[in-house]
Symmetry: C2
């Protein structure tokens, strides 16, 4: 037993479906998104309790992962990402805990096994449907079939870019997902088809923008910012599910906002040498 | 049309099977290996011809990739890796060309499509069986089923480490693979089973060492170096298929050799911003 640290990219969903089943490994989401270099560092050591940037926090999916691996660990999460804002912090916490705890406690599972149990923990906690598999992969993940391996199926858009993001306030995720999600899923299927017809970053952002409108997910403040980026000649869409916006290159700053800068992450979740 | 650049990790195989079929996408290799940060940078622009570190070179798989994408491109390969030494330089050239040409010429294929056509080009050129899919993934790839997606299936050992490598001379790859490969495949299946029983780096190196002996791939000079690393308390195995050795951490230098230092790569093949 020792200590271990994993780094997991942030992930924003650009369009999605809701695919609920009775089996967590088959439950998930189809759609597309962006893995971001702005991410979460997860350190694990023997002990108990979980902290986020030094403050105690309870993350249900993290506790489930530790129980599944049958280890008693203290988990420290460090991130600059906004919480509950559509950046996949809980998915990153679950996946990073799985990777780091496997290493620190010499559990000897494979990457696929760890991805699956982190995905199942997120689904059971009802904190995410598609982030874990996307964060394991990195890049610009296309979720073709929902769920964890071997059920889920991924592809990716081969692209690299600078990304800006802006978080503008609280979003009521639970209310959105507790309602009838069939309109979301219909719009998500159309958007994913459109992306697969032309798998490039500009087409992804265009499909995301259309999805957000058709699924009725944006409020007037979000629409105002998206329009302002358009007017300045930029490309932006909503970061789901959160009250946040992502833009290609300098789309948000060129429109006069003060966003955070990051890049598309190509690495996906991985262990790093002990700090 | 413009220019684009991809970076592809080196890849050494630690144990392998030979799975030949009539279909290139189903032909490949099962086994395990290491993706290395020491890799190949592939730049593509409109034009013709291929260079390696500035000198003209003909790489059959690169030409096949360009023909498949229906583009006329000049390809520049830059690498510090030894050539024909078991580090997957031709696989990296094929995969990097696919990613960069897709971007430079706006071909708009997905990552899976590009991986598949690069794998098929390598198989047709008879220069590799398992490197492309491993280099696309990065990390410590386990090739569970042979071939390109959707036929091939990968997992990975979740681990990070410093790696040293040493190349000690020419190896007659063609003669090895032109002979009866059933003994290699039998030994490769046993080695992969052993790794899957305990998917950790020390178990991978132990399985590789046993595979090399059972498959009869090491010559006295290679055996001598592997024994010397053992005697110094280190962990090493042969980098296949080449007359090369890889060691965990400082295994080779601690035994008095002068190896090159690198690390396990976690990113896999990816585009980088234009240079």
């Amino acid at each position: 037993m020792g200590t271990a640290t994993a780094v997991v990219p942030g992930h924003v969903t650009v369009c999605f479906t809701v695919d609920q089943t009775e089996t967590p490994a088959r439950t998930g989401s189809r759609g597309a998104g962006l893995a971001l270099e702005a991410g979460v560092t997860v350190s694990v050591r023997p002990g108990s309790g979980c902290t986020l940037n030094g403050d105690p926090i309870f993350v249900a999916a993290v506790e489930t992962v530790l129980e599944t691996l049958e280890v008693e660990a203290a988990v420290a999460l460090e991130t600059d990402l906004p919480i509950g804002a559509g950046f996949g912090v809980s998915g990153a916490a679950a996946l990073g805990t799985a990777l780091a705890a496997n290493d620190a406690f010499d559990v000897a599972k494979t990457e696929t096994e760890l991805i699956r149990l982190a995905h199942e923990a997120e689904v059971r906690a009802q904190t995410g449907l598609g982030d874990v598999v996307a964060q394991a992969r990195g890049g610009v993940p296309l979720r073709l079939e929902p769920g964890a391996p071997p059920h889920g199926e991924l592809d990716g858009i081969p692209a690299t870019a600078s990304i800006e993001y802006l978080h503008v306030g609280e979003y009521d995720t639970e209310t959105v997902l507790a309602g009838d999600t069939s309109a979301i899923t219909d719009a998500g299927e159309s958007a994913l088809d459109r992306v697969l017809d032309r798998p490039t970053l500009p087409a992804l952002f265009a499909a995301g923008r259309e999805f957000v409108t058709h699924a009725g997910l944006a409020d007037p403040r979000i629409e105002e910012i998206l329009d302002a980026v358009d007017a300045a000649g930029g490309t932006a869409t909503m970061a789901l599910l959160g009250r946040s916006i992502v833009a290609l290159n300098d789309g948000l700053s060129a429109a006069g906002y003060e966003p955070t800068q990051t890049r598309i992450d190509h690495t996906g979740a991985h262990l790093v040498p002990d700090q």
